[in-house]
């Protein structure tokens, strides 16, 4: 006889698994003698539990629940006292199998059924395979998407690489250096970007978005919106005359608003494709109907079409890799840090551009100032700050904003401190942190190095920033010394965290994949299957699955590509686990169980 013990968690979440339903389902599973809630058995009294096991003649015990692992040791002890095999206490953790809410109650039932019969869920719930279309779509051309595309394309398979903005590269292209090696980010990334641009197996779809996905694993029809670029990619020679003459300006997206760009522009000099595009929102012609200077000066006839319209296209692919990345936290949400109020409070991404030799000040650090038209920008004409405060965990590890750790901020903050010191040797740099998370290979050593470079590292979260004597006063507690610190500095850098894209949930719905509590895409298994989703043929890579640094994003990009190549080589892709009907799982579990009994 098998006994099932439910460890019920009353978390009160709406839509949580219905344990009463699971409880009555469990009673009907063949071979199951008794079903209890953990509160109804003497769980913590091994002798009493052993007596119960003997009385009910239980040979196996299944502990079922959200995360039931913690009660297992009590039961193995009781099993030994009862004279049974302690190995016969098995866990059915619903969360582990992705049954996190009541819409997935069938999966929870399937897990329960399989484990009660001594069959592994993955075996019984193995989806059938179906033919796969050899082409692949990669959504998002940041470092993870680029890596995945190159891996597949170098395996001689066709890849569509789709990107929402006018160039590939993503956030990594904006960074000055990488940690902990202090490699120049552009020097690593741009060769890869060029390779993508020239690869015969990669079709670039920049300035494009997914509109809809139909079909099934192995054969997806993806509707794509090609936003009007208004400059013909084929004929544009990239001469730049149009930009020179264009009268309209807007904050540069690539430089995070630290400088202005024209309405017809190239995102940055190494952009791929290295062609111009027109931003409709700032173009005078599109907005007001007159101008057209760019058309007049363009040396190529018909290259610029100011009246071009958005177009739609449809492609067929067998696999989709989602690598949509993240959105930086909006520092303006935290009033007390004064971002948007005090010009010298800047974000870490702004500092990345400011420090970069290709940035608005060619790598020298200056105050933010107003230009003649009143735009706040960074220019070499304003003075240079001499002291800096870098505030960690802005928008991260905070119940009021995002409660998770964004994982990269500690290290990039240390890196920024180093880069400031490199540019301004006698500058004072203060880091304010809650906990220093230097968890990766070489990271602890990097932390040590930055400390030795004379950066003042203070344990204590900054609570508020105010203006005092024309400088910025940073108020925090020095936890390690029980003191209050009111430090006046010239410039404050907010180390903003990572957030899921605003439309991540929309994309997830289109694709049928799921998002977790925080909005990141959910992987099939946290430990053993971090790139697959519960939908066949759809894998995830990079930060869209959860905050991670460049090496991890690259690794996951390669891993996703491996899954795709595996299916293409085999010619088959697994259907979605989530589409497996419960009856089928039950049937297979029974088959396996019978065949096992037959063997023994």
């Amino acid at each position: 006889m098998t006994g099932i013990i439910f460890t019920k968690i009353e978390n009160g979440n709406p839509g949580a698994l219905d344990y009463n339903e699971l409880f009555s389902y469990a009673r009907g599973i063949p071979g199951v003698g008794h079903v209890w809630y953990s509160t109804d058995v003497p769980l913590y009294d091994k002798q009493a539990m052993a007596d119960l096991i003997k009385e009910q003649q239980l040979k196996r015990i299944v502990v079922a629940g959200d995360t039931p692992g913690m009660v297992k040791p009590f039961l193995t002890g009781a099993m030994v006292i009862a004279g049974n095999n302690p190995e016969d206490v098995v866990l059915a953790g619903f969360r582990e199998y992705g049954a996190t809410d009541n819409t997935k109650i069938d999966r929870a039932k399937g897990v329960l059924f399989c484990i009660a019969l001594g069959v592994t869920f993955a075996e019984a719930a193995l989806p059938e395979e179906t033919d796969v279309h050899p082409d692949t779509l990669v959504i998002g051309a940041g470092i993870a998407g680029i890596q995945a595309s190159l891996e597949i394309a170098n395996g001689n398979q066709k890849v569509y690489l789709m990107e929402r903005t006018g160039t590939i590269g993503g956030h990594m292209a904006m960074f000055d250096k990488t940690f902990p090696t202090l490699d120049c980010a552009a020097c690593i990334l741009t060769p890869k970007m060029v390779e993508v641009g020239q690869h015969q197996n990669i079709e670039l779809l920049t300035y494009s978005e997914v509109k809809g996905v139909t079909g099934e694993p192995g054969n997806y029809k993806v509707k794509i919106l090609n936003k009007a670029r208004r400059v013909d990619l084929a004929t544009c020679i990239g001469c730049g005359i149009c930009t020179e003459k264009c009268p309209a300006k807007a904050p540069s997206e690539f430089d995070n608003g630290t400088t202005l760009r024209k309405a017809i522009y190239i995102p940055f000099p190494q952009a791929v494709p290295n062609k111009y595009l027109i931003d409709a929102d700032s173009c005078t012609y599109v907005q007001k109907g007159k101008c057209g200077v760019c058309v007049k000066v363009c040396p190529v006839e018909g290259c610029i079409d100011l009246d071009a319209k958005d177009q739609e296209m449809e492609i067929t692919v067998g696999n989709i890799i989602v690598a949509t990345g993240f959105k930086p936290f909006d520092a303006g949400k935290i009033d007390r840090f004064g971002y948007g109020k005090y010009p010298q409070v800047i974000t870490s991404l702004e500092l990345e551009r400011l420090i970069n030799a290709a940035g608005p000040t060619e790598g020298s650090i200056h105050f933010r100032s107003q230009d003649k038209k009143g735009n706040w920008i960074f220019s070499v004409e304003s003075g240079m700050p001499r002291s800096f405060a870098i505030i960690h965990c802005v928008g991260s590890r905070d119940e009021n904003y995002n409660k998770y750790c964004s994982r990269v901020c500690c290290m990039y903050s240390l890196k920024l401190a180093h880069l400031i010191k490199e540019k301004l040797e006698d500058a004072d740099v203060f880091e304010y942190y809650i906990d220093m998370r230097a968890f990766g290979k070489g990271y602890e050593e990097f932390y040590e190095r930055i400390e030795n470079e004379g950066v003042h590292i203070v344990r204590g979260r900054t609570a508020k920033i105010e203006e005092r004597n024309g400088r910025l006063m940073v108020r925090s507690e020095d936890i390690l010394n029980d003191q209050l610190i009111e430090q006046e500095v010239d410039m404050v850098v907010l180390s903003i965290g990572l957030e899921p894209r605003e439309d991540a949930a929309e994309l997830a719905e289109m694709l049928g994949i799921s998002t977790g509590e925080e909005g990141w895409f959910t992987e099939a298994n946290y430990n053993t299957d971090p790139v697959n989703t519960f939908v066949g043929g759809i894998t995830i890579a990079g930060v869209c699955q959860g905050p991670k640094d460049i090496p991890d994003a690259v690794a996951q990009g390669s891993a996703a590509a491996a899954r795709v190549l595996q299916s293409i080589v085999k010619g088959k892709v697994k259907k979605s686990i989530k589409d497996m009907p419960l009856e089928k799982i039950e049937e297979k579990a029974k088959q396996f169980s019978n065949s096992m009994e037959g063997k023994s």
Binding site: C393, E399, N400, G460, A463, R475, S476, D478, Q483, L484
Partner: protein
Amino acid sequence: MSTRVNPGLIKEMSQYGMGSWNACFHCGNCTAVCSLTEEGILFPRKEIRALQMGLKDKLATSVEPWLCYYCGDCTETCPRDANPGELMMSVRRWLTAKYDWTGLAGLFYKSVSALIIAFVLIAIGIVAIGFVKDFNHEAVMHFGHSLEFYLILTVFTIILVPNILRMFYFTVIKAKVNAPFSSYITAIGSLILHMFTQIKTLKCDKQTVRWLEHFLVVMGYLGLLVITVFLDWFGTENRIIIYMGYITGSLVFVFTFLLMISRFSKARELNKYSQPTDWFFIIWLFLMGFTAFLVRLFIDIDLLNDHFWIYMVHLIIISQWGMLLVPFGKWTHFLYRSFAVSFANLKKAAYKEKLATAA
């Protein structure tokens, strides 16, 4: 000497208020966001640490909880929802129990039923005395007036003065604050100022309205106390005293009513976690002002003879107030808070001297 962690303290404290104090990861946000913290006077994080470690002595000898005026900034911005503001409030209740040598304050904080039984017993006692005196108006009112007088005297000498001395022992002597003698003299000056004005509240952000409400209640209460007890409001013929009584009485019940609404609507951070003792305190203050007002009104429009019950109600309220809420309840914060400012000044002076000798 090494310290022993006492996990029971956090359990004990949760009888005095609500908060997930174990969630605190010691980022120091609360201390730094507070407008009242200064060099040498740091809270609430240090108190949370002491609580988590179960350092009872450290917590009992700290004067800092009394320096917090509960603006709620720390709780609102706490990245862990650990509710540091409510911890300071809970520690104040706990300290009130610690300072009280009779132990009754702690009993009433922890057990509402004990408090209610005491309330009922007092009410029965007053009715019984009325019965003995045959509900003779003059005799009962005379008794009531002397009761007020002797009650104040007794509570002051037997309960309040010893408790203040205990507070001094805890926060200055046991905490080993070695302040120079001159600082004691300046501390007395600040005591009077803060007792009557609670002026420090104004240092908190956006607390002006709240301070004014509280100030008017305090002024009304003290005025009413002087006018009824020492100027015999219910017996006097002096018009000025009568009018002053009406003004102070209405100040008390109008503004306590407003404060009751704030507690009820929970709009402000400090009003979100009311304990039964908070409710008793504010409702009895309201009832005291209101019944006093009615008694004098009934005298003036010649209704008291037919409606003597209103005086009996007033007397019950006053007795419950004076015998329970003043010595063992929230009333004591009036004294503890003002003395705390002075004791904190001693601590600051000692801190400065220590820094000076170190330098």
